[in-house]
Chain length 190, copies 2
């Protein structure tokens, strides 16, 4: 059996990343990497689904034993990517999707030359703004902050291997699947 593909995915919020990945993850050939955190579970969150909830001691023990692919401390809590389930699923021939923000992705870039990096982008910043305004769920100042954050993230897109522009959702899903399929035909240069 051939090994699975490690696919690192980043996207500004509002780009439809959740919808695209939800569609892709219907295929049991994919495994979604669940992050670990030391923050307390919120109402309705289930251990192993939204996050692996660890104590601070457990998390630091994982760091000490090199069991986190990457991690960061944010607002006094650790967040990180457990390494073992990623490697196990790859060995079992499943493609692993690691959804992570750009800074984390750039860390993983250095550690995992075997990974493929996909950035999901809006057709334009203006389209993103219109979509967020159209939803009508957030005040304009929050929308402007999210748009500004998206612009900063899009600045990193050129450091990914592929950019999937989510203009028409079905096309973006086909692009994503084509990338995974093409990568499985790729000649490994070593």
């Amino acid at each position: 059996m051939s090994k699975g593909l490690l696919i690192v995915v980043s996207a500004p919020s509002g780009c439809g990343k959740g919808t695209i990945l939800g569609e892709v993850l219907k295929d049991p050939a994919y495994y979604y990497s669940v992050s670990a955190t030391t923050r307390a579970p919120r109402e309705g969150e289930v251990n192993g689904v939204q996050y692996h909830f660890l104590t601070r001691e457990q998390f630091e023990e994982n760091i000490a034993q090199d069991m986190m692919l990457e991690y960061a401390e944010y607002c006094g809590n650790y967040y990180g990517t457990p390494l073992a389930p990623i490697n196990e699923n790859l060995e079992n021939g499943r493609n692993v999707i690691l959804e992570i923000e750009v800074q984390g992705a750039m860390q993983v870039r250095k550690l995992r030359p075997d990974a493929v990096f996909v950035f999901i982008a809006p057709p334009s910043v203006e389209t993103l703004r219109e979509r967020l305004v159209g939803r009508g769920t957030e005040p304009l100042d929050v929308i402007e902050e999210r748009v500004a954050q998206a612009e900063r993230e899009i600045g990193f897109a050129q450091q990914y291997d592929y950019i999937v522009v989510n203009d028409v959702l079905e096309e973006a899903i086909s692009d994503f699947k084509a990338i995974v399929r093409a990568e499985s035909c790729k000649v490994k240069q070593d």
Copy 2:
């Protein structure tokens, strides 16, 4: 409009290259590069379809003016790839398929860093032999020569960007299309 993709395709004979490309070329977004030659047209061959038939003077004039992407002399006749239609179609946003044997492909490799190189391979040399025997159109010694030639060509496969294994035809066609689609999402590293 974005530029088309130059796709260089090689395959040993008997690998189903013609069937795969025939399917892909049904899409008008693709242009098939027709070679030029100085050999005389055979019965039924049409200028501009099987080949562009040129005189020796015309061909050498083309060489002198850098209008051939690559060329070779074989059995006293020139064979080559006219550059102008390739570049025109790429500019017009069409993907150009250049079907060429491995030596020519390696020449193009040096000249066109913008091209994508796809090698179509049989699942195994043994499968190729069985297919050729199964057809029953050639004597065994010819089949063995073709199999030996295929093995030599497969030795170059690792120098291509992608290998499409033609085991199940529909899967091979999907692989080929996925490669083109994924390449259009690729971040150009420069």
